[in-house]
Subunit: 104 residues, 2 copies
DNA sequence: TCCAAGGTTCGATGGAATTCGTACCTAGCC
DNA sequence: GGCTAGGTACGAATTCCATCGAACCTTGGA
């Protein structure tokens, strides 16, 4: 069944976004997505050293924070960074994070 | 006694900063400081609806994350936003947060 | 049809985060 | 000196976070 818990673009909460990005693992996923093209990517294409259920948990956090859109394909599932929505709501945030993460 | 747990400018951790800013109360304090002049401000000048010990706790989080510098004056204590350090380490971060927080 | 790969859900668990009360400290003021 | 305002330290309680295992589901392929 599809995911219905992603916030609409205009109600994405800054606290939730920052909380999601505060975690090193989730932040690395977002940075990874920023380095890929702006399309869907298979969840299985991320090499996360965690139990399956823990991966599910982190994808949910990112989804509920409004950072990613997720699509269930029964078999696998796919994620896409919500670049436009985030750029519209919090201009420059993702760019700033990307630049900050590439620091020393 | 003085506070010795503030990180040096070059080792401020992005995760710690984002974690500190994820909390609505702490974020509001930082935004408040951004709206004031770039000097020391008395901790007692912030109207935080919390027990004294909880306020101390949140100042410590902000201090240890590297967001503020805190000075003990025996009697009161004073904080100052580390604008320059943060701008040097994570360019544009505070500006972006400020802009984002002023959104709808 | 059976099986494997990829995910979810549900409980459980250990640890961190947040809050508070109490006791204590320091400087300034009467 | 004694009092007060502003803070800290510490312990306790509570809640939230991150992790996992086990059971289950769905699709695609042998």
């Amino acid at each position: 069944m599809p995911y219905t818990d992603a916030p609409a673009p205009e109600v994405i909460d800054l606290g939730a976004v920052l909380g999601a990005l505060a975690d090193p693992l989730r932040r690395s996923v977002v940075l990874d997505l920023l380095g890929r093209d702006d399309t869907e990517h298979a969840c299985s294409s991320f090499d996360l050293p965690l139990a399956k259920s823990t991966r599910t948990y982190h994808w949910r956090v990112l989804r509920q924070a409004g950072l990613v859109h997720q699509r269930d394909a029964g078999n696998g599932s796919y994620v896409r960074l919500r670049r436009d929505d985030l750029a519209a709501r919090f201009p420059g945030l993702l760019d700033t994070i990307r630049r900050a993460a590439h620091q020393v």
